[in-house]
Symmetry: C2
Subunit: 212 residues, 2 copies
């Protein structure tokens, strides 16, 4: 959020909870429920009813007064808010352990993401298919991004290579980078970066373990 863009009324924490709601609502929908109250959702999610109410309100989920949230409409509202109502094409850089696992994670299809190409410099990987996705040499990065008009990158490579590749991605007009390398990336402010650090979660767990 920079000082020129409109202030988003929706908190980061709310956004992080949305996929959880979505999963519950998919289940409810599959069971044929058409309405669900925040108290029922609270039992299911271990969140407070007021948190759920506020979160769903924030994305404009439709309600029926005194009866709860409309299941089908809420799914639409969340998917629409996140842009998950149609698939965004993305590509992966780095097909090591983590990268391969990401390619095998079919769940992304439910999350608006379709990985249509992968890149690596390892000659044993280039030319192969991993979980149905073609692996190209990183040298082809620019031409393929431009040809396929890709805007979303997933980075699963060593920290030392991440910033260099990022600069290339920015040049090619990539607008979103999901970064699993343990380095903070520098990008222009019109490029969205989401930094994942698996060690943060482990640190939290270890801190909890010590305090118990």
């Amino acid at each position: 959020m920079n000082r020129f863009s409109a202030k988003s009324a929706i908190s980061k924490q709310t956004i992080r909870r949305l996929p959880q709601y979505l999963r519950v609502f998919y289940d409810l929908h599959a069971y044929g429920r058409s309405l669900v109250s925040s108290t029922d959702l609270a039992a299911e999610t271990q969140l407070l009813p007021i948190v759920i109410k506020k979160d769903l309100q924030a994305v404009g989920a439709p309600t029926k007064l005194r009866a709860g949230f409309k299941v089908a409409g809420t799914i639409e509202a969340i998917e629409n808010f996140l842009g998950w109502d149609n698939l965004n094409k993305a590509f992966l850089i780095g097909t090591g352990h983590l990268g391969s696992a990401l390619l095998g994670f079919s769940g992304f299809q439910n999350h608006g993401l379709e990985i249509v190409a992968a890149f690596d410099t390892n000659p044993e990987k280039v030319g192969q298919e991993i979980h149905g996705v073609q692996v190209y040499h990183t040298a082809q990065l620019k031409s393929i991004i431009k040809a396929k008009k890709l805007k979303i990158a997933v980075l699963a490579l060593p920290g030392s290579a991440a910033q260099g590749i990022t600069d290339t991605l920015v040049e090619c007009g990539v607008k979103a980078i999901w970064n699993f390398a343990p380095v903070k990336l520098s990008v222009p402010e019109d490029v969205a970066v989401q930094q994942e650090d698996i060690a943060s979660g482990l640190a939290e767990l270890c801190a909890k373990l010590k305090s118990n």
Copy 2:
């Protein structure tokens, strides 16, 4: 944090930043730096100096007035706070794409975690070694946990199986669960759970992308 345990003075966000500091300090140490100021660290990490000062203060990192933080001592302080100064033995349940990737992630050795066994029900996996870790049948879970006195579990299995396995783990005396399955686990309050939801990060990225 329940109402009986002492209130931890250190915030969750601070804890999540500790691994990042640790990486920077390892580098500084490797380069032979013995002192570093919070302003220098700020340039490196893209955090504010005051954030760094407070975070490191919270874990008791040693300083030299007017000169900054002592590199070696700060590494010790962070590692000690997280319990990463000696390896904790852990085990993995579920050797699918993600589980295998976790086994291949050598970085855990730097983060106080050593995965010494893996479990799966798939007959093609049982009896194999993945990245040097033996895969046992889930039926052997109880006996191996007890024999090896394991206290930390890493869950990388389908959501539908997670709670059932968790109940078994709790019975066996497991004290910490790092859960990659997309379900909230119910556990007694003396068991630490860290929930990872990869979709949360993707949701954040998509929200940023839309607002740019």
